[in-house]
């Protein structure tokens, strides 16, 4: 059925695949900004955005009213506003770097997706094949490496704005992002110590991590979030700090720094920063779910293969690779979206830390904790896997 696809030249095929993934990430990132406003409204017990509507949709009896209340047309209205607004360029900025900064923000945010698998299917032999753009052996390192480049957009934006508050924000950004990278890296090491058991081919890819969480038995089916709760917690906190989300958004804290690194930005350039932030959140949530949340397995102790086996009793086409692929992608996306909801939930639950508190938590609490955690698991894993 899909033979024609494999006759396309490889370069073109890879291009189409990459474009397809970006075309999913980009609208989700846009929709997240809308969801954020809706979730904020829900948590604060107010209706939230519920006015914008396209006239001919309003003529549909019940559905039109429902969609209006849901606020879905505000995404389009916001996007249209951002596109057609005057794209101002302040006179005192370094023009080249000022325009470059939002572009630099987008590049690492969308490039990290390459190394993250988002689903799986079974080949003829029943082996799990992860679905992703590049099945890298060093997946985790690739995500860390490329996402660490995201700091440059903030540094450049703050510096090129040639004004005090953006500059302070960019100085904060470079210090904060480097600080939390350390504990984040140390937190994932126990996972890979466990996955790289003696006798297995060494890997830092995500596929092996998920495979390890979908084995039979009590310990085999356990998600790493339950097996290594401290690692998961440190990774989660560092993820909040790395994506500049509350309570760690001191980089753009509007109370003391106006708008920080994007104070001087407006219209579409400003929008790009936000799409980049949400893309970072999406990829970060995806990595968290792969490492600690079982990846594309529907429930703890219920692997994808088991679930497909159950579905096979009801649906005749349950074992078709296409169906399994779509099922695993929907499970994974569902988890990622739940995680993004968690990000928004935390935003309206915890107050923002002061900058000195952020640094203190990073260096005096998270880093020693992650080192102790690594030592504990290194000894425990050595004893268990002996």
């Amino acid at each position: 059925m899909f033979d024609f696809y494999f006759e396309i030249p490889l370069v073109l095929r890879l291009f189409i695949q990459g474009l397809a993934v970006i075309m999913v990430i980009f609208p989700i990132a846009g929709a997240c900004s809308m969801a954020e406003r809706k979730v904020a409204a829900w948590i604060q017990d107010r209706p939230g955005p519920n006015r914008a509507i396209v006239p001919w949709v309003a003529w549909i009896p019940f559905l039109g009213k429902f969609l209006q209340r849901l606020g879905v047309f505000h995404v389009m209205a916001d996007g249209g506003k951002m596109l057609f607004k005057e794209d101002s360029l302040p006179g005192h900025v370094n023009k080249f770097y000022f325009i470059l900064a939002p572009i630099v923000a987008m590049i690492p945010a969308l490039t990290t997706v390459v190394a993250v698998p988002f689903g799986a299917y079974f080949d003829a032999a029943g082996k799990v094949i992860p679905l992703g753009l590049a099945p890298l052996d060093v997946g985790m390192l690739a995500v860390f490496a490329v996402s660490s480049l995201g700091v440059y957009s903030m540094i450049l934006a703050g510096w090129a704005s040639n004004s005090k508050y953006p500059f302070l924000g960019s100085v904060r950004a470079s210090a904060q992002l480097i600080s939390y990278e350390l504990s984040m890296t140390l937190a994932v090491l126990p996972v890979f110590l466990w996955v790289n058991a003696p006798g297995t081919p060494g890997t830092m890819g995500f596929g092996a991590v998920v495979e390890f969480q979908s084995q039979p038995g009590f310990l085999g089916g356990m998600w790493f979030g339950f097996l290594m709760p401290v690692s998961a917690f440190i990774f989660l906190v560092a993820l909040f700090a790395e994506t500049n989300r509350q309570p760690f958004d001191t980089v753009e804290s509007e109370a003391d720094l106006v708008g920080s690194f994007h104070t001087e930005y407006g219209a579409f350039k400003w929008g790009l920063f936000f799409v980049a932030e949400y893309s970072h959140m999406i990829v970060g949530s995806g990595v968290f779910m792969l490492l600690f949340g079982g990846g594309w397995n529907p429930l703890p102790w219920v692997s994808l293969a088991t679930a497909v086996g159950w579905l096979g009793h009801i649906l005749p086409f349950a074992h078709a690779p296409l169906f399994v692929g779509l099922l695993s992608i929907s499970i994974f996306m569902g988890k990622v979206l739940a995680m993004i909801f968690f990000f928004m939930w935390v935003r309206w639950t915890l107050p923002r830390f002061r900058y000195d508190q952020v640094m203190k938590i990073g260096w005096q609490k998270m880093l020693p904790l992650s080192i102790a955690n690594l030592l504990f698991y290194a000894i425990a894993i050595a004893l268990i896997q002996k």
């Binding site: 370069v11 770097y97 890298l136 052996d137 060093v138 390192l141 690739a142 860390f144 490496a145 490329v146 660490s148 480049l149 700091v151 440059y152 540094i155 450049l156 510096w159 500059f167 960019s170 100085v171 470079s174 210090a175 992002l177 480097i178 990278e181 790289n196 081919p201 060494g202 890997t203 830092m204």
Partner: protein
Amino acid sequence: MPDLAQFLFLLFSIFTVLCAVGVVVNKNAVNAAFCLLLCLVGVAGLFVQLDAYLLAFILLLVYAGAVVALFLFIIMLLDVQGRQSFGFSGLTTFAGLMSFALLLTGLGTIAVRGHLDAPRLNRLAADGAHMKLYAYHLFTTYLLPVQIIGFLLLIAMLGVIVLSKKHDGLEDLK
């Protein structure tokens, strides 16, 4: 018509060399640091072409992600806008001439012989590509160098702590 691998090699190497020239030529320190960043990205691209994924991503993670960010951080904090231009002293002129002579000798040798000594392809395949083999080498063949570098870094770290700490009654320590 070169094939894709050759095209990518040319692309990345020309990009890397141009950025490296940019680092040296640029008067503005921020421009130079940014060129250095792009140069490192180019080198990482070349490593990926050699199947040395680990090396490529470690390069990005450590140098492009952290070291150059700290460079930029320092440049911005000190606000150096190319005003400290050092003149040539006797020593720098000598060092410059020496390195230029070395470069010329190297280029001349390649030009005369017409080719580089490339290791045989079957030897290249394994070492950098697989995590396990790489770790094996680090913990067996290269254990001593790794330990020595670790101690050097530790000493450097202690030095930074001593220099940056405020000592009571020792204000002129620096």
